[in-house]
């Protein structure tokens, strides 16, 4: 059970060395606007393959927009976005995408298996009969995320956590190299959050899948993250995990006081303090000051 891997990975030749050396995502001076409104600009970073990256930022900072830009669903106003070696939108067959709204659609009458199969056959026009190999692939994807026993349940009968995992199975069934998830942990209870994170960890460790996760709460994801894109002051920046986990930075990022705690086990937790302790002096900066501060951080990273 623990080692079950979607079918094509068994037969696929080992990935070429130059393939893994190629970065998963490259932003070059990228900008996105909607109408007259500039959402973000000067996106300049490279995310390596095999990484697990969080996209963090306040509401409305353009996190989902970033995923859509990478998928080519939104046109870039400036610069370039390269995904898996191709311009954004060209490599979508090698990308699994799980949008946020997915789990809220409780009306669906489809069974889990039918839903997962659509990830494999949903783009095909014409008359097709689902082959045994396709069913097997769907079964293996469901097995991997631990919903194989729910194959014949309707989506409307499943809990939010299980629907989330069915959605991930649907994204996995075509064996993507890159998996993008938009707020996969939102509205899930703690146990479901842990189960989802565990699935993501195994995808990364066992299959070497590159993963991007839009998140507003990093806590649950911290053990598996290798880096984060933080959307601050209208510019996306990428940093490896040790740089992101900086209390000062996170405080600016969220606009509320955040503490980073190192526990005896070595785990770090980002803790939004519920109330200001008496006498605590919150370090605040004007937006232009913050912009300079983070451009420095970005430049250091590039060197």
């Amino acid at each position: 059970m623990g080692t079950s891997i979607p079918a094509r990975h068994h037969s696929a030749p080992p990935r070429q060395a130059d393939d893994t050396a190629q970065p998963a995502i490259v932003f070059k001076d990228a900008a996105i606007r909607r109408g007259d409104h500039l959402i973000w600009s000067h996106g300049d970073f490279t995310i390596p393959q095999g990484s697990v990256t969080a996209i963090v930022g306040t509401n409305g900072a353009g996190k989902t927009t970033m995923l859509k830009a990478e998928l080519g669903l939104l046109a870039i106003a400036h610069g370039s976005v390269t995904v898996l070696g191709e311009p954004a939108g060209k490599a979508n067959q090698r990308i699994g995408y799980v949008p946020q709204s997915y789990t809220s659609d409780i009306d669906s009458n489809l069974t889990a298996e039918q839903s997962v199969l659509l990830g494999l056959t949903g783009t095909k026009f014409g008359f097709h009969i689902t082959s045994r190999a396709q069913r097997q692939q769907a079964r293996e994807a469901m097995d991997f995320v631990g919903v194989a026993d729910k194959a014949n349940y309707r989506l409307s009968q499943l809990s939010g956590g299980l629907r989330q995992r069915v959605a991930i199975a649907q994204a996995l069934v075509s064996n993507p190299q890159l998996l993008m998830l938009d707020e996969p942990l939102a509205n899930l209870d703690l146990a479901s959050q842990r189960a989802t994170v565990h699935v993501l960890a195994r995808l990364n460790h066992e299959l070497g899948m590159t993963i991007q996760i839009v998140a507003h709460d990093l806590n649950m994801l911290l053990p598996i993250l290798t880096g984060a894109v933080y959307l601050l002051d209208g510019h996306p920046h990428y940093a490896a995990m040790n740089k992101v986990l900086d209390a000062e930075l996170l405080t600016h990022l969220y606009g509320t006081t955040v503490q980073v705690v190192t526990t005896p086990q070595g785990d770090m937790f980002v803790t939004p303090t519920p109330d200001e302790p008496a006498g605590m002096n919150q370090d605040t900066h004007a937006p232009d000051e913050v912009a300079r501060f983070h451009h420095h951080a970005g430049e250091q990273h590039r060197q």
Partner: protein, 279 residues
Amino acid sequence: MNHIAFSFDPQWTQTLSMPFMHNAFLAGLCIAIAAGAMGYFTIARHSTFAAHALAHIGLPGATGAVLLGLPVSLGLGAFALMGALIIGALGKRASQREIATGTVLAFATGLGLFFARLSSSASQQMQSILFGSILTITNDQVIGFAIFDILLVIILAVIYRPLLFSSLDEQVAQAKGVPIALMNVLFMAIMAGVITIAVPAVGTLLIFALVVTPAATANIIAASPLKAMVTASVLCLVSIWGGLVLSAMFPAPPSFIIVTLSTLMWAIARGASSIHHQR
């Protein structure tokens, strides 16, 4: 006429063997196939209200056609198709915009009434457009319905998976390369066609019970899309044929009995499934 006659007609088998009944049964079969297949997608795409509205948008087309001396179905179909293309072009989200849709629906119904009042012949046809007149369906109409059904089944077979995928989640389908704008327009255009052939049976006002209700009942009974479509068609057929037989036995309009049967089956399925879930 104080006395309301509600008596069993012993001559009902003779009524059923009349040529107009023959046409009505055939038309019922065609309508059931079309409504059953599209009803599933209407629910899956959360477009039930848009489908209901299309029938009403077709109303001024129908009464306007009578005014101009054109066939009712032509006017109805043209207006419904026009409405469908506009709603389809606005996207799947737009078909869920209830206030805009409802406002247009009310305006169209009013316009339909206005056109009907402009001529006495349109006025006379108003009731049959609103409530259906399955017993007056002609041979030519039946042939038209059958051709529509064949086209519908072929088109649905070709676009089945992408349409289903985009119904489940438009964003994922779009990311994977499904042309969702085309799916929307196609879906709404086919819907307009289904409405056009279903209106003669139950009229614009009762269309919901024929296109959406059997599909909703089928969704409770069957889990796979194909099974649900077949089940919906069978339920629709039972409603229409049952309506024809019962209206021959008892003095009640077929539309009323069709809608009653459809609603009863839905209520029973709903009731049974909620009892089943409580256990």
